[in-house]
C-alpha cells in the first residue's frame, strides 16, 4: 500500500508499547480463562464425587419425579379442585408473612438508611455502625433466624415473618441509603433554615423525594419475600410451603395434593411478579 512507508520510524516506540500491551492482555485473559475453566471443571468433579448420584446417569432420569407427580395428578384429576381450595388458607398465610415482613422490614430499612446516610443522619458519628448493622442483617440467611425463633416461639408464621423482616431491613437499608445519597439536599437545607426539627426535615424534605424509589424497591422485595416465606414453610414456619413439603415428602399417594398446592403457589408467584413488574415500570417511567 502506498501509505505504509510514511511515519513508520517515529512511532517505533509506540508500536512496541502497543504490541507489549497486546501480549500482556492475551496473557491475562488466557490465564483468566484457564483459571475459570479449571475452577469450573474441578468444581464439577468435586461436586460429582461428593454427590450420591452420577451426573450423566441422573440427567436421563431428570423427569422421573415430575412425571410421577403429573401421572398421579392426572389419575386423580377429580381431587385437584379440592386440593387447590384447601391450599388457599395457607396461601393467605404465606402472603401475609410476606406482606408483614415487607412492611416492617422496609420501615426498619428506611430508618436504617436514614441513620446511615451522610447529610441526613441524626447521629453522624454512628453512620458506620448502622451500615455494618445493615450488612449483618443482610448476610444472615433467613433460615438461620427462623429456625432459632421456631425453637423459642414454636412453629408458626411469626418466626418466619420476623426472620424475613430482619433480612429485608438489611437489604433495603442498603438500597434506600443509596437512594438517599442521590437525594437533593437543598430542600432539606431550606427546611433547616426555617427552624424545622430533624423529623420534619426528613418527613417533608427527604421522604417526598425518595418515596417513589422506596416504593418500587419495596415491591420488588415483596416479590422476593413471597418466595422466601414459601421456602421457610419447608422448615416449619407455616404457610403454603409447609403444606407443600408435607405432601411432597409423603410422596406417592399425596402427589396429587402436591400438584394442587404447587399450582396455587406457582400461580401466585407469577401473578405477583407480573403485577409488581407493571407497577414498578409505571413508577420508573410512568409519571416522570
Amino acid at each position: 500500500m502506498t501509505f505504509l512507508a510514511t511515519g513508520a520510524r517515529g512511532t517505533a516506540d509506540l508500536r512496541h508499547a502497543y504490541l507489549a500491551q497486546v501480549q500482556r492482555r492475551r496473557l491475562y485473559s488466557g490465564l483468566l480463562t484457564i483459571l475459570f475453566v479449571a475452577l469450573m471443571v474441578s468444581g464439577f468433579q468435586i461436586a460429582q464425587a461428593r454427590n450420591a448420584g452420577d451426573f450423566l446417569n441422573g440427567i436421563t432420569h431428570i423427569f422421573d419425579f415430575p412425571a410421577d407427580i403429573v401421572d398421579e395428578a392426572i389419575a386423580k384429576a377429580g381431587n385437584l379442585p379440592g386440593h387447590i381450595w384447601d391450599a388457599l388458607p395457607p396461601l393467605i398465610e404465606t402472603i401475609n408473612i410476606a406482606a408483614v415482613s415487607t412492611l416492617i422490614g422496609t420501615l426498619l430499612g428506611g430508618l436504617l438508611a436514614l441513620a446511615s446516610t451522610r447529610g441526613l443522619a441524626a447521629w453522624p458519628r454512628l453512620i458506620v455502625v448502622f451500615r455494618r448493622l445493615s450488612d449483618v442483617l443482610r448476610a444472615v440467611p433467613e433460615i438461620v433466624i427462623a429456625l432459632v425463633l421456631i425453637f423459642v416461639l414454636g412453629a408458626g408464621p411469626v418466626p418466619a415473618a420476623i426472620a424475613i423482616a430482619l433480612h429485608t431491613a438489611g437489604a433495603t437499608g442498603k438500597l434506600f441509603s443509596e437512594v438517599n445519597e442521590n437525594a437533593d439536599l437543598k430542600p432539606v437545607e431550606g427546611l433547616a433554615s426555617v427552624g424545622a426539627g430533624w423529623v420534619q426535615r426528613m418527613m417533608l424534605g427527604v421522604l417526598p423525594q425518595v418515596a417513589p424509589n422506596y416504593f418500587s424497591y419495596a415491591l420488588l422485595r415483596f416479590e422476593i419475600n413471597i418466595r422466601a416465606s414459601a421456602i421457610l414453610g419447608f422448615v416449619g414456619a407455616g404457610g403454603i410451603g409447609y403444606e407443600l413439603k408435607n405432601a411432597m415428602t409423603f410422596g406417592q399417594g399425596k402427589l396429587d395434593e402436591a400438584a394442587g398446592i404447587f399450582i396455587v403457589l406457582f400461580a401466585t408467584i407469577v401473578i405477583f411478579d407480573q403485577l409488581s413488574g407493571v407497577i414498578r415500570h409505571r413508577l420508573t417511567y410512568g409519571d416522570a
Partner: protein, 280 residues
Amino acid sequence: QEITEFRIGLLGGENAQDRLANNECLRTYVEEALGVPTTLFAPADYNGVIQGLLGGNLDMAWLGASAYAAVYLADPEAVEPVLVKTNLDGSFSYFSIGFARADSGITALTDMQGRRFGFGDPNSTSGFLIPSVEIPQITGHTMENGDYFGEVVFTGGHEQTIIAVNNGSVDAGVTWADGLGAWEDGYNSGALRRAVDAGLVDMNDLVEIWRSRPIPEGPVVVRSSLPQDVRDTVTALAENLYATDPTCAYGVAAGDTAGFTPISHEAYETIIEVRRAQMN
C-alpha cells in the same frame, strides 16, 4: 457386573455430623470389604433417603418401616430388606408414644377433643403412620382438622414434637421410644430420652397419654440391582458387626443393641397396607 462405588444413606434423628461420625466405622468396614470407595450421605429428612433409593443413587440405608413402605409402594423392585435391629431383650419393635404436658390436665386421648395435636415427619412410622391409623380407632373420628382434634399439624420431626408439646405450641404429640426402662428417664432409648439427656425437658412435666401397639423396627435395605455378591458381603458385614465391633454397632444402631438379624419383606406387609390406606 462390577460396582465402582458404594453409597450408604443415613436417616435423620441425630444431627448430620453425629450421624456421619457414628457410622464412619461402618463405612471403613464396607470399603475394606468391597474394595471400592464408600461414602456416607446424611440427607435432611426421610424423604431424602427415599428419593436416593428410588433413583438408584444410594446402595444401602437403614429405613423406618413407613419409609420402607414408601419405597416399596413407589417401586417394589427398588430395594430389598435384609436386616433388622434387635433390642437387648431380643424384640425388634418399639412404640409410638402419645404425650402431653402434665400441667395441662390431659391424661388420655379423650381429653384431647378440640385441642391441637402434633405429628412429626409425614414419612415417620411412629411419628405419623401408626398413630394416624390407631388413634382414630380410639377416638372414633378421623384425624382431619376439627373432626376430633381442633387442629392437627406436622412439626417436622420427633425433636420438634417434643419441644412443641413442652412449649405448649401443641397440646399433645407422638414420638418414638423403646418402651423399656422408666418414663422418668424418657425410657431407655428414643427421642424422649435424647431430649432429657440434652436438658430440654423434665419428664416430670410430661405425661404419657397413649401408646401404640408394637411397631416393627425399620429394615436395613440394599438396592436390588446390586450384584448378589455385593449384597451378601455388606449384609454379612452388618449382621456380624455387633460381634466384631460392639462400639461400632452401638454407634450405627444409635444405642444399645443385640445386633442385627435377617428379615424379609413379609414382616412389613401390614405396615405397607397401612400406608397404602393413607394415600388419597
